[in-house]
């Protein structure tokens, strides 16, 4: 940590006083008084942007403070730059960090802060129906239903990028789809069947999670974190609890962390199995897919036997776990996992043996390596494109620093690679759970305490889809600001790039190979 501080101070020519240590292996750098653009330009050479968020009335500063969270390859610590604002205007960094564009539009919607030189100033999560002066994240706004606009003039409508030319036409798809899936709008620009541009519009079911959390006690907020995305319950709950525990100085008992790790890995297993089943279904090979569906269902039943919830709800708590897990259920899981690798191998063999399937998966939907960092694409999608990133190893939490983890990195970045990376990760997760269960989960308490203190901290966790970040700010025992950034939020833009040059009927497959959560984006 000390060494990293020295390096940063030297690299950015800061004064020592502007850097301070956070509570969960993060550094906070106050940029008040520094040339903002220069610093960002320097950062863009060595660091990657994790998230940008805004806080009103942070630590006595009357007004807005922008937070820019960065990570650097090989560094455990996350660096968070603080930029206090004195007005409703800010400088855009989207030209340096393309991933910042969505964050800036989001802050513009939430707080009414204008990023003066941004290349894209369209609204993001507030659709046309919301009045122009509606900024729900302002402290002055009390959470209540508002009057939405009934008549929307053509000039008030959201403007998609327009393309023209001979044979060019646009295909609008969604937000209502033919299957039972979540809402999202996809605007394809195509020539014949070949897609040359895709624009994705989300936030059709924005629930105001961040506003909902404000004014709640951290204890009340755990179910909110669990509801962010149904199939990432354990990951989101853990990220939130880690942040609160670090703020409050709670030491989570080892048994609780071991069990949390079991849940997190079970979640990864069933999510990946669902993704793989989906990929095989989307190439219309239901026989191959059914094996993965069966395995996923068996894991869900194990979840239910261990925690009482198929989707691991209501078990992770601030300070440990809500309740202990019965030894019989763990023995049952261990017994089941003995037969699991062979079943998975059979399922994989069936898929890999079909040249029809291989032909569909290979060279489809390539995500280029050069896009991973600028767009902050994360999780299996990044690893399948040749980038060795994994939050469990890069920013370990809980007991992950003691586990023999490895990153599965493949180079090509197509659907096949994402399929293979997920398969390999399932086997790893099984191994992790197996090792934990065989070595014996430590006896003892699963719960320390829920005495909550004021403060702020970051919780970063690797969910099945990739890096998930929660930032919690507690004031007077209540949540004052809760910022969540899931892996789905980052990876939607990966699809926009992966699809280029592919044909329309391959879109569902490419979409499924990332299988992003709409709910996890529409916070």
């Amino acid at each position: 940590m000390k060494e990293f501080i020295t390096d940063i101070v030297k690299y950015l020519k800061l004064s020592d006083a502007s850097v301070r240590e956070g509570l969960n292996h993060e550094l906070y750098v106050n940029l008040a008084g520094y040339e903002f653009r220069n610093t960002m330009e320097l950062l863009s050479k060595e660091f990657s942007l994790i998230a940008v968020f805004c806080v009103q009335n942070f630590n006595g500063h009357d007004g807005f403070t922008l937070f820019y969270a960065f990570e650097q390859k090989g560094r455990y610590e996350v660096v968070v730059f603080q930029r206090p604002l004195s007005s409703f205007q800010a400088t855009s960094v989207a030209d340096l960090f393309p991933s910042a564009s969505w964050y800036e539009r989001e802050i513009n919607d939430g707080f009414g802060i204008e990023f003066t030189d941004a290349f894209d100033k369209r609204r993001l999560f507030l659709h046309e129906v919301y009045p122009p002066d509606f900024h729900p994240l302002l402290k002055a706004f009390r959470n209540h239903p508002i009057e939405t606009r009934k008549d929307i003039m053509p000039e008030q409508e959201y403007r998609f990028n327009e393309f023209a030319g001979e044979g060019v036409y646009q295909i609008p798809v969604g937000p209502v789809h033919a299957g039972i899936i979540e809402p999202g709008h996809f605007r394809f620009s195509v020539i014949g069947e070949t897609i040359f541009n895709l624009e994705i519009r989300m936030f059709y079911k924005h629930r105001g999670v961040e506003k909902l959390a404000e004014g709640k006690t951290p204890l009340e907020c755990v179910p909110v974190a669990e509801s962010i995305s149904g199939d990432e319950t354990a990951a989101n709950a853990t990220a939130f609890c880690v942040a609160v525990e670090k703020i409050s100085g709670i030491d989570v008992p080892p048994r609780a962390w071991q069990l949390r790790t079991v849940f997190l890995e079970l979640e990864r297993i069933y999510s990946h199995l669902g993704d793989m089943a989906g990929m095989i279904t989307d190439v219309a090979y239901p026989v191959g897919a059914s094996n993965f569906y069966i395995l996923r269902e068996e894991i869900l039943r194990q979840n239910s036997a261990i925690t009482g919830s198929r989707f691991l709800k209501n078990i992770v708590a601030i300070g440990g776990l809500k309740h202990d897990v019965a030894i019989g259920a763990l023995v049952g899981l261990l017994k089941y996992l003995k037969t699991f690798p062979a079943s998975l191998k059979d399922a994989l063999d069936l898929a890999y043996r079909s040249p029809w399937v291989i032909d569909r998966l290979e060279t489809t939907g390539i995500i280029e390596k050069r896009l991973i960092d600028p767009l902050h694409i994360t999780g299996p999608a990044a690893r399948a494109s040749g980038v060795d990133t994994d939050t469990r190893i890069d920013h370990p939490y809980g007991i992950y620093s003691h586990l023999p983890l490895q990153k599965h990195v493949l180079e090509k970045g197509d659907v096949m690679c994402r399929f293979a990376v997920k398969a390999a990760e399932i086997m790893d997760s099984v191994q992790i759970i197996n090792d934990l269960l065989i070595e014996g989960i430590k006896q003892g308490e699963v719960f320390a305490s829920t005495r909550v203190r004021d403060g702020y901290a970051l919780g970063v966790v690797e969910s099945p889809r990739g890096q998930t970040m929660h930032w919690v700010y507690i004031k007077n025992g209540l949540i004052d600001r809760y910022k969540v950034r899931t892996a789905s939020y980052c990876n939607w833009r990966a699809i926009e790039h992966a699809i280029q040059g592919n044909i329309v009927p391959d879109f569902p497959l490419i979409n499924k190979s990332l299988n992003l959560s709409y709910a996890g984006t529409d916070l």
Partner: protein, 314 residues
């Protein structure tokens, strides 16, 4: 003439009766291969009855095409059904049985379906029609070659005469028929929009071909389209069955003859439907632009059949 009336009534009624069964049976087979139980064998009958009772809704952009297409489709299919005797082979009557007329009755139905897909102006309908026409442009010459091969092998363009001949001989003495049957099987798969060409079970509107064209249809119109599709499948199955394994098909009408023929056809149809279901389960959908490779296999087999037949005759 009386005997032809009898044929028309019996054959049409039989086709209408058994077609939904084969659709359900394929679904059931596929479900079993996936470890599921699948729908009841009567599900397609229920579906058609249900749709018949439902309200018909037209898009405000749609024209007369949308309204007449379902009726045209079922008419074309029922007319085509006269060409494929499933119970007994009638005395020849002019025009009925010409194999190319049969092909173009099917194509005419497809043409109107593609128009209906475009008619409502929805994105997916247009996409489905465009894909269907693209594929048709490739599959149609192949079908012509395959049918021409049949005509060449049997030395007649009348399907009824072909079936009479195949009834008289065994495939063992006429091996080219085996080869051409493979081509007919591929045509059956392609023309009924099955995997690997199209996925009848998909909910993914972006990948659809056949389903996309009928997305805008509802109620009894949709029921007629579903029924037409089922009939088309039975006719192509009937063509393959009558060429490859015609046993049981009656030469003369008669109560016992027809009873035996009906039982035999259902049995053979069940076997073929199960084979189609197993075939569909064993492959994945091909990339759209690789489909011509599959069609070319049918073309190649037809070509080889012609070669064999030529050698035979030398």
């Amino acid at each position: 003439m009386n005997s032809f009336m009898l044929y028309s009534i019996l054959n049409t009624a039989f086709v209408l009766l058994v077609s939904p069964l084969f659709i359900s049976l394929i679904k059931k087979t596929k479900a079993y291969t996936q470890g599921r139980r699948g729908p009841s064998l009567f599900q397609t009958y229920y579906l058609i009855v249900k749709l018949m009772k439902k309200e018909v809704i037209y898009s405000s952009n749609s024209s007369i095409i949308m309204r007449i297409t379902p009726y045209l489709n079922i008419t074309f299919m029922l007319a085509a059904s006269l060409f494929v005797p499933l119970l007994f082979i009638p005395a020849s009557s002019p025009g009925i049985g010409n194999i190319f007329l049969f092909l173009y009755l099917l194509v005419a139905a497809k043409f109107f379906m593609a128009l209906a897909g475009l008619d409502a102006g929805s994105t997916f309908g247009g996409m489905g029609s465009s894909r269907e026409m693209t594929l048709s442009a490739v599959i149609e010459p192949v079908v012509i070659i395959v049918f021409a091969t049949l005509a060449f092998v049997f030395r007649t363009m009348n399907m009824h005469e072909m079936f009479t001949q195949s009834l008289g001989t065994s495939i063992l003495v006429n091996p080219p028929v085996l080869l051409i049957s493979l081509s007919l099987f591929i045509i059956l798969i392609v023309e009924t929009s099955r995997i690997p060409v199209d996925n009848p079970e998909t909910h993914l509107e972006l990948t659809m071909v056949h389903e996309a064209m009928i997305l805008e249809l509802s109620g009894s119109n949709l029921a007629l389209m579903e029924l037409s599709h089922a009939i088309k499948q039975t006719l192509l199955m009937g063509l393959l069955i009558n060429i490859l394994m015609p046993w049981g098909l009656a030469r003369e009408p008669g109560l016992v003859n027809i009873g035996v023929a009906a039982a035999m056809f259902i049995m053979k149809g069940v076997i073929l439907a199960i084979i189609v279901g197993l075939f569909e389960s064993s492959v994945a959908k091909m990339r759209l632009f690789r489909l011509p490779a599959l069609f070319m296999q049918a073309f190649f087999l037809a070509f080889v059949t012609i070669l064999f037949e030529l050698l035979n005759r030398l």
